[in-house]
């Protein structure tokens, strides 16, 4: 691998401290090393993923056997009377579960899993930088996210319980204790999200600066891996969307706390103004939650298919296009809100148009698999799972984007199915793919291929059995956030479907234990990983596994080509690292 001696200012970032010298606490707790921070985010957000999953299980139990004394909530006895009384969940607690499941999964699980973990870990490694532009800010961003999460969890145990106005916190239910019975919980919700917002914000500043300024020699914009491209656009979305949410949350907090009336009609406030502010942030947020996964999947598909990604430029422009159009579609969340119908018509069209870039990406993924020489390693399976499930999530979006069809479907389980096909079938499968793919680089050990494949198969099956029937529940008219569907006579015939869904949801949850074991066990027991176990091209694979502090030990790699030169005719092997000048000779085939 050809390198150049690094100019002083380049590795001033990381390499000015030699990590032998760093004491444990500075190295693993208050570390400024982007890799350690990424790993810290990984453990934090996996924990919150578990919490959010548990909340979902409790909800599913209530939905399958609503207030049924013969089916008491398992473990309900340990919960205080204000949540569960003799095995039966209280409606206000159910609403708190709905709210906190959404909030925790979106803000503390999926968002950090995609951005906090991989933007930190991958960007410097994929652009050949020794570290982030502002390592101390980077550390601050993590150590702001932790207290935010703790505040959010703490709100369960305060007077009145956790926020229960939904993860969208619609005024006026969220602004008035009289209506919701919750004050402190809702205040903590606001404060926690503002802190987390600031954390993501300084993260985004860091990622953007790093990407613009610290790319290795030869690494032009159109030689960046799609992961990095997606993370760049995502950072821009975070940078510009999160402040709007912060402003809205602050006004909401004032409405709750000092009795202002920004969103309360008593004083001329506008409940719809909150919805506009929230969704002006919220829709870019939706793309924040899917774009990085699209990036990882593109990289992994190319690697698994041993083929250049199909239509690289189209893929980049699709990401950028989503980043632009994503700002003018937020109104489709408000079709039934009493919004001006003319505006509804406008948002309908923009929303349908944004389907185009997503379609482009899907077709390009198909094109990537076509004519490949596919290796079905675990990351590849997750990536393929992403593609097949994201298609369903994307297509069900068309129903909801078409206003008239949205009328019966809005706020029903059809929406729940849609969001979970995108966020679980999409984002979470992308996350599984990314974790299994970069695990060797992160920890220097391999995860078990066999366990990975079993986990993939079971998750794929139980996921579909859990969420596909929700489309039927929804078009059958079952509303979201419904504590007890059997209250509605016309929903009673669907109750058996709810039981079926709950059973599969429990199995889906149980399946994740396989992943947890695979992840934790191999931290110590996994077989040692080579520098480039997947025979991949991008820069991170030219660093040692795991890379030292400073990543390339005081040198920066020179980039000679794009990241997708798999099976190039001039190369003897079916891959050609970005740093190599000459084509490599075929290495011994890796065991699969």
């Amino acid at each position: 691998m050809s390198t150049i001696a690094v100019p002083h200012e380049a590795h001033a970032a990381g390499a000015h401290e030699h990590h032998e010298a760093i004491p444990f606490i500075r190295r693993y707790i208050f570390s400024t090393d982007h890799k350690i921070i990424g790993i810290q985010f990984l453990f934090m957000s996996l924990f919150f993923l578990l919490v959010g999953g548990l909340l979902a299980m409790a909800m599913r139990w209530q939905l399958a056997w609503p207030s049924n004394p013969d089916m008491p909530l398992p473990g309900g006895s340990v919960l205080p009377e204000t949540m569960v009384t003799d095995g039966i969940m209280l409606p206000e607690f159910y609403n708190a579960l709905v709210t906190m499941h959404g909030t925790i999964m979106v803000f503390f699980a999926i968002m950090p899993l995609l951005v906090g973990v991989w933007a930190n870990y991958l960007i410097p490694l994929q652009i050949g930088a020794p570290d982030m532009a502002f390592p101390r800010l980077n550390m601050a961003s993590f150590w702001l996210a932790v207290p935010a999460g703790l505040l959010m969890l703490a709100s369960f145990f305060v007077v009145g319980g956790a926020a229960n106005a939904g993860w969208t916190g619609y005024a006026t239910l969220s602004t008035s204790e009289v209506y919701s019975g919750v004050k402190l919980g809702q205040q903590l919700w606001c404060v926690s999200l503002v802190i987390l917002g600031f954390s993501s914000l300084i993260g985004a500043v860091n990622y953007i600066t790093t990407l613009i300024n610290m790319r290795a020699p030869g690494l032009t914009w159109f030689r960046l891996p799609l992961s990095t491209w997606a993370l760049f656009v995502t950072s821009v979305l975070i940078l510009l969307a999160v402040p709007i949410l912060a402003g809205g949350l602050i006004m909401l907090f004032f409405d709750i706390t000092i009795d202002t009336t920004f969103f309360r009609p008593e004083g001329g406030g506008q409940p719809l103004l909150w919805q506009h502010l929230f969704w002006f942030f919220g829709h870019p947020e939706v793309y924040i939650l899917i774009l990085p996964a699209m990036g990882f999947v593109s990289d992994i598909l190319a690697n698994g298919a041993r083929k250049p990604i199909f239509g690289y430029h189209a893929m980049v422009w699709a990401i950028v296009g989503i980043g632009f159009i994503g700002w003018v579609v937020w109104g489709h969340h408000m079709f039934m809100s009493g919004m001006n119908p003319m505006l509804g018509g406008f948002f309908m069209v923009t929303t349908l148009i944004i389907a185009v870039p997503s379609a482009i990406k899907t077709f390009n993924w198909l094109g990537t698999v076509w004519g490949g020489n596919i290796r079905f390693h675990a990351p590849m399976l997750y990536a393929l799972g992403f593609v097949s499930l994201f298609v369903i999530g994307g297509l069900s979006g068309i129903f909801l984007a078409a206003g008239p069809v949205d009328i019966p479907l809005h706020d029903t389980y059809f929406v729940v199915a849609h969001i979970h096909y995108v966020l679980v079938g999409g984002s979470l499968f992308g996350i599984f793919a990314a974790i299994t793919f970069w695990y060797p680089k992160m920890f220097g050990r391999m995860m078990s291929e066999m366990l990975g494949k079993i986990h993939f198969a079971l998750t794929f099956i139980f996921f579909n059995l859990t969420f596909f029937p929700m489309h039927m529940l929804g078009s059958g008219g079952m509303m979201r956030r419904l504590y007890d569907p059997t209250q509605y006579p016309y929903l009673q015939p669907q109750q058996d479907t709810n039981v079926f869904i709950t059973i599969n949801a429990l199995l889906l949850f149980g399946t994740q234990l396989i992943f947890a074991f695979n992840f934790l066990w191999n931290l110590w027991k996994g077989k040692r990983a080579t520098e480039n176990p997947w025979e991949a091209n991008s820069l991170e694979w030219s660093a040692p596994s795991p890379p030292p502090h400073g990543n390339w030990g005081g040198v920066v790699p020179i980039v000679n080509r794009g990241p997708y030169e798999y099976s190039a005719p001039e190369a003897e092997a079916d891959y050609w690292p970005q740093t190599d000048v000459a084509a490599p000779v075929r290495a011994a085939p890796v065991s699969h």
């Binding site: 209280l90 409606p91 609403n95 229960n164 106005a165 619609y170 006026t172 239910l173 209506y179 009609p265 406030g269 409940p271 083929k307 250049p308 239509g311 690289y312 039934m336 009493g338 119908p341 509804g344 309908m348 069209v349 389907a355 185009v356 379609a359 482009i360 077709f363 198909l366 094109g367 596919i374 290796r375 593609v387 097949s388 298609v391 297509l395 068309i398 129903f399 078409a402 206003g403 008239p404 069809v405 019966p408 706020d411 029903t412 039927m472 078009s475 059958g476 509303m479 956030r481 419904l482 504590y483 007890d484 209250q487 006579p489 016309y490 669907q494 997708y564 798999y566 099976s567 085939p589």
Partner: protein
């Protein structure tokens, strides 16, 4: 197909168009879905890794990409145009048909209060009367409702009428529907509105022409009898709308 999707019975004049669009989109997306997944599966089997073989080395195909981009764009634009017209017919007050009956529905935690115009057919007059959680309408008559809320956001949801519209505090939102079949149906709340959200349920009764007149006259008499119809809120009835008979009378 709508059996598969379990769409509720449709008794709305515009419901047929909505269901038709639903089915059209279901076909389009269904075909795309099957095509993509089948193709994916086929490629995975056909191009599974074999030692010694090398993958096709291509960076893409501009013509192909232009074709599928424009194709997708065309489809979604067509869907967009189709939906926009229907959307405005249903939601834009300027396009509402001349109403045969005007009601005000005031939502509050956790009930729907329906104000009927009374003898003079005018709202906000002395002879208005209110029924809690009971919506009574004549068949084949365009009904216009003014939705209001006293506390939080609720969502006025009539599954069989393909109607859903939020009731927002501080706003008066107009909606309309025309039922085509007499019978007993459901009024639901589709927006999380507090701990009683799940039981914020009302009943809707659609009367054939003459039955409607008799029912309406009875109510007017009752109001007149009670306090001479002085207070607008006189004669609040039907607190005990027994869910049982709603369920019983509920015909699909």
């Amino acid at each position: 197909m709508d059996g598969f999707w379990r769409l509720p019975q449709n008794i709305a004049t515009f419901g047929g168009d909505i269901d038709r669009m639903f089915i059209i989109i279901a076909w389009i997306t269904g075909i795309v879905f099957v095509a993509v997944e089948a193709l994916l599966l086929f490629y995975l089997i056909k191009y599974r890794g074999k030692p010694g073989r090398k993958a096709v080395f291509t960076h893409g195909n501009s013509r192909l990409e232009i074709i599928w981009t424009t194709a997708t764009a065309l489809i979604v634009v067509v869907i967009g145009i189709m939906s926009r017209g229907l959307w405005l017919d249903i939601k834009d007050p300027r396009r509402f048909p001349e109403p045969g009956l005007e009601l005000r529905i005031t939502a509050k935690q956790f009930e729907w209060n329906v104000t009927y115009p009374g003898a003079d057919g005018q709202l906000d007059t002395a002879d208005d009367f209110v029924k809690r959680n009971q919506l009574h309408v004549p068949v084949n008559v365009p009904v216009k409702v003014d939705l209001e809320s006293e506390d939080v956001i609720h969502s006025f949801y009539l599954p069989e009428l393909r109607l859903k519209q939020d009731a927002v505090p501080g706003m008066t939102i107009e909606a309309w529907f025309e039922a085509t079949e007499p019978g007993a149906y459901t009024v639901g709340c589709a927006e999380l509105c507090g701990l009683g959200h799940y039981r914020m349920r009302g009943s809707m009764t659609v009367y054939a022409g003459t039955e409607w007149d008799t029912w309406y006259q009875q109510e007017i008499q009752a109001v007149a009898a009670a306090a001479g119809g002085a207070a607008p809120l006189a004669g609040v009835e039907g607190d005990a709308a027994p869910p049982a008979d709603v369920a019983a009378a509920h015909v699909h």
